[in-house]
């Protein structure tokens, strides 16, 4: 793994990446030496399920997968009494372009996730958890399997964990490479062995989820925050971030910066600070043009818009989103048309094809951009892109329609002049 020094460089107090520098943190012995599984012990032996849920609610932990839904609230939607089994699905399908944070957690600190899984399951009353991990992460999946085996061997998984009578089994399921399976209901379908098509909501997974049973679906990073909340308490966690958005985020910075990599920083750290202080600014000779602040589906920010706090609400306020906190830096030498082409190609390729606007709209947009890119752009093409993307946005079955249309809209609107300069002038 490159940039290993970057992880420990700018630390006050970290939650997730604390001991990332250790070569063998993924081994349970090393993890235990660093105080591992104490949160599980505390949660299972000293706390009640409801007490844990309250603590997580108070901590203001918002989902790290992209939508930012409060995690404690999500757990509380699962019916307390149900004659069906309940399930936890861990979304490790990390497919949003630019995002590579979960991979680092899984590779370097898998036991942190396992602790989170155990505590969440105990709190909600779950006895089977599935980690849906993206197909490309083969080595990562193997490492997680190994960690799970070690945890089971030490008695943290399986029957009557820590002799509390609480049972939990964790299964690893590898995806087959479809972006859509990161959408929670498509993930459930895929996990059930079906085609990865998103489901209509309602019913929501909290009541009708995996195998028609109540299900919690949490992102890897979300769950990895749980042990610290249990150990150090909600106020401490909340204090790390903002009033309604507690803790830290792992910002994954990519692009022509001096030190690309992941940076665990408090929620609300400014985008400028992330790029210029932590990632070392742009490489010599490069000039900042724009930033995609939260994974490829987040609307783009221009160079003069980066003095913004990186939290869900602040970014929503400027019409973008924090998403998975993947910061994609774009320099002046990169034509926006190239960015647009990458974006359009990705979503056209990854649309599952279930609903009309996404299936045909993303392909249509991609065809126009390919034509523009081949030098056959015509007058009106940029407006047409905006019109088509607007006809996708908010009209699809799952959030992928927005994911596909928002970046196109923002690129076409914010860089209209540059894009139009690529078109044939005149009548076309």
């Amino acid at each position: 793994m490159a940039c290993s020094k970057a992880w420990t460089r700018h630390v006050d107090e970290k939650i997730l990446t604390e001991h990332f520098g250790l070569a063998n943190l993924y081994e349970i012995e090393a993890y235990l030496e660093r105080g591992g599984y104490r949160a599980v012990t505390k949660a299972l032996q000293e706390m009640t399920p409801d007490g844990i849920m309250d603590e997580v609610k108070k901590a203001g932990l918002r989902g790290r997968g992209g939508a930012g839904f409060p995690a404690g609230m999500k757990w509380s939607f699962v019916p307390k009494t149900s004659d069906k089994p309940k399930y936890l699905c861990v979304n490790a399908d990390e497919g949003e372009p630019g995002t590579f944070k979960d991979r680092y957690i899984l590779t370097h600190n898998p036991h942190l996730l396992i602790e989170g899984i155990i505590i969440a399951s105990f709190s909600v009353g779950i006895h089977a958890a599935y980690v849906y991990i993206r197909g490309e992460y083969e080595a990562v999946a193997q490492r997680l399997e190994q960690a799970l085996a070690q945890a089971a061997q030490k008695g943290y998984l399986g029957k009557s964990i820590l002799e509390t009578g609480f049972d939990l089994d964790v299964f690893v399921h590898r995806g087959a490479g479809a972006y859509i399976c990161g959408e929670e209901t498509a993930l459930l379908e895929s996990l059930e062995g079906k085609r990865g098509h998103p489901r209509l909501k309602p019913p929501f997974p909290a009541t009708v989820g995996l195998f028609q049973c109540p299900t919690v679906i949490n992102n890897v990073e979300t769950l990895a925050n749980i042990p610290a909340i249990i150990q150090k308490g909600a106020p401490w966690f909340l204090d790390k971030g903002l009033a309604k958005d507690g803790g830290t985020r792992i910002f994954g910075v990519s692009g022509p910066v001096v030190r690309p990599g992941i940076y665990e920083l408090p929620v609300g750290t400014s985008l400028r600070e992330i790029i210029y202080t932590h990632a070392g600014g742009l490489k010599p000779g490069k000039k900042l043009k724009a930033v995609i602040p939260g994974g490829m589906s987040a609307p783009i920010l221009k160079a003069d818009e980066i003095d913004i706090k990186m939290d869900f609400d602040s970014l929503a306020g400027v019409g973008s989103m924090l998403g998975s906190a993947a910061v994609i830096v774009i320099d002046e030498a990169t034509p926006i048309l190239d960015v647009l082409k990458k974006v359009a190609k990705f979503y056209a390729h990854e649309s599952c094809g279930q609903c009309t606007p996404c299936r045909i709209g993303t392909s249509w947009i991609h065809k126009i951009i390919k034509r523009m890119s081949a030098g056959h752009g015509e007058k009106g093409d940029v407006d047409e892109l905006v019109r088509l993307a607007s006809n996708i946005k908010g009209k699809t079955l799952c959030p992928m329609g927005d994911a596909a249309s928002l970046p196109v809209l923002s690129l076409a609107q914010k860089f209209k002049n540059e894009l139009e300069s690529c078109l044939k002038d005149g009548s076309g």
Partner: protein, 519 residues
């Protein structure tokens, strides 16, 4: 406790509906149509076509009419600018990926995409890119062709095969714009309900080899009828070419489709019924013939009926009817069976009454019944015993034989049939179809086919279903009820009674007075 009514307003129309009603259903109750393609009332909503999006006051996003249950006080707009724009957008996307080969598409004229474009679209095409090329002639079943360019991926076909027949022969394969409907490897759609996929397909993606390129839908008259091919009594549409046919010599009935009747057949019919229609038009007898001394003589109805009456009347008068035998069948309508019973059993007092029906097949556990005749229940309810024909009993001491229907030919081998029938002096055949019996009889009276008649049938569950003639009678044929009434008049038995029975409806009413079951 009464279920709480939900008071809602759709496009300024107040409606009160039951809890759990979807917006689409509520709109229908209010007399408003919300366009939909993937939604079908028989299946769980899928919400994938996105054309039914409507605006609900207070909600930021447009919502699906097909899958959203109404809440009390909801205010819904199906025509707001946002809704119209979204609908137009969906149509535009569908059209961009559609071959627009309506001039050669069998669905043209009854295609939902065409209808909705006409109603909500009428925009100029903005799609300047190359269309996707896809396979257009894929044989997915014995009689079904899939055209992937026309397909809009509503997945009604997939859901029919998974939710209704549970045979699951079709699925969606590949992804995004390359998504396509396909069979699994080369295993075809193979079940007795495959034809329903053609009715279900909202566009011309699944077409029927029996109908493909034969006519345009707008040349067809659509008539409601009852399928006669088994005792289920499925409700059907018969699509028929009125007037002259465009290609001389072709059949006039182009297709049979399912007609919704949740009590009887739901929304489906079986392939046995659907594809059985050519047999209804083939080998029809259309002339009144008297084989006088071995030579065919064409007769009029008046002549032949008076000739027959002359043969029967003396026997009736002398109460010597034991040498008359009749063979009926349960393809005859309620009214016809009733008249048959009145005349031959009650008035003439015949003892030799037999039935010759198509041989039973095997049922399929869903709609198709083993009993391959539409009206056996009625015969039983009238007190007619369905005695099968025993050739010895039939011919022994028999002078006059009247056979209704062609089915006797299928039940006995020709030589023994000829042998026994030769013993009878006067033989009359009243049949809609040629069957080979013609060569053994002296008088041939062409009967109208079941689709040319008006009347009623009683299905296996005892449901009496009326139907009207789909098309005019073939040639000189007449329905059996009319033949029976005319014969009764000629025989001058109970003249006042039969002359009142002028129409099947009147007969049914009379039946009701006499037989409680038909009340």
């Amino acid at each position: 406790m009464e279920s709480a009514g939900m008071k809602i307003v759709i496009d300024d129309r107040p409606v009160e509906v039951e809890e759990g009603t979807t917006i689409l259903q509520a709109a229908k109750q209010a007399g408003l149509h919300i366009p939909h393609l993937c939604f079908h009332p028989a299946f769980v909503p899928e919400g994938s076509c996105r054309i039914c999006l409507v605006e609900i006051e207070g909600l930021p996003k447009l919502e699906l009419a097909c899958a959203t249950a109404v809440r009390d006080g909801m205010k819904i707009s199906t025509q707001s600018p946002r809704v119209r724009e979204a609908r137009r957008g969906v149509l535009e996307f569908l059209m961009a990926d559609h071959p627009l080969d309506c001039p050669i598409c069998d669905k043209a004229g009854e295609c939902k995409l065409q209808d909705y474009y006409q109603e909500y679209g009428l925009f100029e095409g903005a799609f300047k890119e190359a269309k996707e090329k896809r396979d257009k002639i894929i044989k997915i079943a014995e009689k079904l062709i899939l055209d992937r360019e026309r397909c809009i991926l509503c997945t009604r076909c997939v859901r029919f095969l998974s939710e209704i027949t549970k045979t699951q022969e079709l699925g969606v394969f590949r992804r995004g714009i390359h998504s396509e409907i396909s069979t699994y490897e080369d295993a075809p759609v193979q079940n007795n309900y495959s034809g329903n996929l053609v009715d279900l397909c909202p566009v011309g993606a699944i077409t029927d080899t029996e109908f493909r390129f034969k006519t345009r839908t707008w040349f067809l008259a659509q008539s409601e009828s009852i399928c006669p091919l088994c005792s289920r009594g499925c409700n059907i549409y018969v699509d028929y070419h009125p007037g002259f046919t465009r290609i001389p010599g072709t059949a006039k009935i182009y297709r049979i489709r399912a007609r919704e009747n949740l009590e009887v057949n739901g929304r489906w019919i079986c392939d046995f019924g659907r594809y059985g229609f050519p047999s209804l038009e083939k080998d029809r007898g259309d002339k009144i013939l008297w084989k006088k001394e071995g030579r065919d003589t064409i007769m009029s109805w008046e002549k032949i009926l008076s000739l027959l009456a002359e043969k029967l009347r003396p026997r009736h008068r002398t109460k010597n009817t034991s040498n008359i035998a009749v063979v009926a069948n349960t393809w005859m309508t309620n009214e016809e069976l009733f008249l048959f019973k009145k005349i031959f059993k009650d008035d003439l007092g015949l003892k030799k009454i037999f039935f010759a029906d198509p041989r039973p097949g095997s049922g399929d556990g869903f709609l198709l019944q083993a009993e391959r005749t539409p009206n056996a229940r009625a015969a039983k309810e009238m007190g007619l015993e369905l005695n099968p024909v025993n050739l010895d009993d039939l011919s022994k001491n028999t002078d006059v034989l009247i056979i209704f229907g062609p089915f006797l030919a299928d039940l006995h081998d020709p030589s023994s049939l000829k042998n026994d029938l030769d013993k009878i002096r006067t033989k009359v055949l009243v049949s809609s179809h040629r069957s080979g019996l013609e060569s053994y009889v002296d008088f041939i009276l062409p009967a109208s086919g079941i689709l040319e008649k008006t009347g009623s049938l009683t299905n296996r569950d005892g449901l009496v279903q009326k139907f009207s003639a789909v098309c005019p009678p073939c040639g000189d044929s007449r329905p059996e009820w009319s033949v029976l009434i005319e014969l009764a008049k000629e025989l001058r038995i109970n003249a006042g009674y039969y002359s009142r029975l002028t129409q099947p409806e009147v007969i049914l009413k009379e039946m009701g007075k006499e037989i409680a079951f038909f009340r």
